[in-house]
């Protein structure tokens, strides 16, 4: 995470996400998948092919791509279908866009009720016998049972969670890095899924994004760094308030 300053001098914290060897693996049509839209399987981050059996390599061999660590699905409209085997780059996103980021949260192991659900526990003194971090009562007398989904101690973390509506401040096309506002679930160097935001406030925020994606062998030549309009770039002199 890094700080970023706007032209008015305000500081925002920013997370760096690297797009590492992402390729489209397979196209699944609407009828085949049984959903409302067509799907595209995308894989990220190359990994050695020797730790899995040959049967697991079929998808990758069809697309002509080395074995990937993670394969995810994206629901796609029919006009955004991409041929399997095309690489995806960070330039697919543009500064000023809003994005949802999904990842597995940091695993905390078996945790008690105070850390996992934020219960208040009991006082530390004034006669409490062996009861300081316990849940207390778990149901009423009339119910005569414990309801399903009662908050109790258990394994915490290591589940998929999404942060919605994160602004993209800057894109580095040379190293394929996306600068995303705020924090993102997961530990450092974990795998993360980045999608266009589904929030209704940001429905019309994308002005001319590269559609269906940014093709590296196309005619477009992008500069090494793409900045949002409000970012203070370090090539400018210091900020002054007129």
């Amino acid at each position: 995470m890094m700080p970023i300053w706007t032209k008015s001098g305000e500081k925002h914290a920013v997370t760096l996400l690297k797009v590492q060897d992402c390729h489209v693996l397979r196209y699944i049509s609407k009828e085949e998948s049984g959903g409302k839209t067509a799907k595209l399987l995308v894989g990220g981050k190359n990994v050695s092919p020797f730790s899995k059996p040959e049967s697991a390599h079929e998808i990758f061999k069809e697309a002509g791509v080395p074995r990937k660590q993670k394969v995810t699905t994206f629901n796609v409209t029919d006009d955004a279908i991409i041929k399997p085997g095309t690489p995806l780059y960070a330039a697919h996103f543009r500064p000023g866009q809003f994005v949802d980021v999904t990842a597995k949260t940091v695993g905390k192991g078996f945790q008690g009720v105070m850390k996992r659900w934020g219960f208040k526990g009991q006082p530390a003194s004034h006669g409490q016998t062996k009861t300081h971090r316990r849940p207390g009562a778990i149901s009423t007398n009339k119910a005569a049972k414990v309801y399903r989904g009662k908050k109790m101690p258990g394994k915490m973390g290591n589940i998929y969670r999404t942060s919605f509506g994160l602004k993209v401040w800057r894109i580095n096309t040379k190293h394929d890095i996306i600068y995303v506002n705020g924090s993102v679930p997961g530990h450092t160097n974990c795998l993360v899924k980045v999608k266009d935001s589904k929030l209704p406030t940001y429905k019309d925020c994308n002005k001319n994004p590269p559609f269906p994606t940014f093709f590296a062998d196309g005619d477009e030549e992008l500069p090494e760094d793409l900045f949002d309009e409000e970012i203070f770039q370090f090539t400018d002199p210091s900020v002054t308030f007129a």
């Binding site: 890094m2 001098g9 500081k11 690297k18 450092t188 370090f234 002199p237 210091s238 002054t240």
Partner: protein, 246 residues
């Protein structure tokens, strides 16, 4: 000297002049700001490389001078609520923290009997000028104990003139021992964990001995705590010199 046998003494040629090349010596002793050294961790080194590029970019446009904890600085920042739209603050640097772009330093001064500490970010675009009025080091890396010292040690004249310093001289170390206000202090500075050398403790002997109960002499032999940054520093220094020379 007695001449041998009446003949004139043997001609001694004058000693050859020793040429000290000032330029090469200057480049060897170059200061590396502590926020460039990456901390120990599992982050990808690419992230530090990219952050360093941004820091070098900012240093090309705005001159961040060399300073240490204990030097007196004057910082002018842009302020939308001031009448001149800019604010100037003079103070002694108490501590330098943070790595990378978020590096900060705290300046302390006593203005009209009120102690004031301001934490500035080195790479913030609101800083318009930064000048070192007095460049010197102190006996400690962290001067937070000045909060519990007598106010005379933290007062600096707001209109102080910069102290002239010859180029390529050693940074002077001010071995000042500071006198403290009576206890209680904000932290127990006599304890060995803070390892402070710049205070003149006027506590009784038995209290100083009691404080040594908390010393942990095994810490200096702990190999897992060692972080040898010499090679990393060399690489970063070379990279910095190349980039700033462009």
């Amino acid at each position: 000297r007695v001449s041998s046998d009446g003949k004139p003494p043997k001609f001694q040629p004058p000693p050859k002049p020793v040429i000290i090349d000032r330029k090469t010596q200057k480049e060897e002793r170059r200061f590396l700001s502590p926020e460039f050294i990456p901390p120990r961790g599992r982050t990808d080194p690419l992230k530090y490389y990219i952050e360093r590029k941004d820091m070098i970019q900012r240093r090309k446009v705005f001159n961040i001078p060399e300073f240490y904890v204990g030097s007196v600085l004057a910082v002018t920042t842009a302020d939308p609520y001031a009448s001149d739209k800019s604010k100037r603050f003079v103070g002694i640097c108490i501590q330098r923290g943070g790595k990378g772009l978020g590096a900060t330093f705290v300046l302390r001064n006593v203005i009209e009997d009120q102690g004031v500490e301001i934490c500035y970010e080195l790479y913030s675009p609101r800083i318009q000028a930064m000048e070192v009025l007095k460049l010197e080091k102190r006996l400690d890396e962290n001067l937070t104990y000045l909060r519990d010292a007598l106010p005379e040690y933290s007062t600096f004249d707001v209109n102080m003139k910069p102290v002239p310093r010859g180029d390529h001289e050693e940074i002077p170390v001010n071995k000042l021992q500071v006198r403290m206000k009576p206890k209680p202090w904000s932290k127990r500075w006599e304890r060995p964990k803070y390892n402070i050398k710049g205070i003149k403790f006027e506590l009784p002997e038995h209290k100083m001995k009691a404080a040594q109960k908390w010393c942990q002499p095994w810490l200096e032999f702990d190999m897992l705590r060692e972080y040898d940054t010499s090679k990393i520093e060399e690489k970063i220094r070379k990279e910095l010199n190349e980039e700033l020379a462009k």
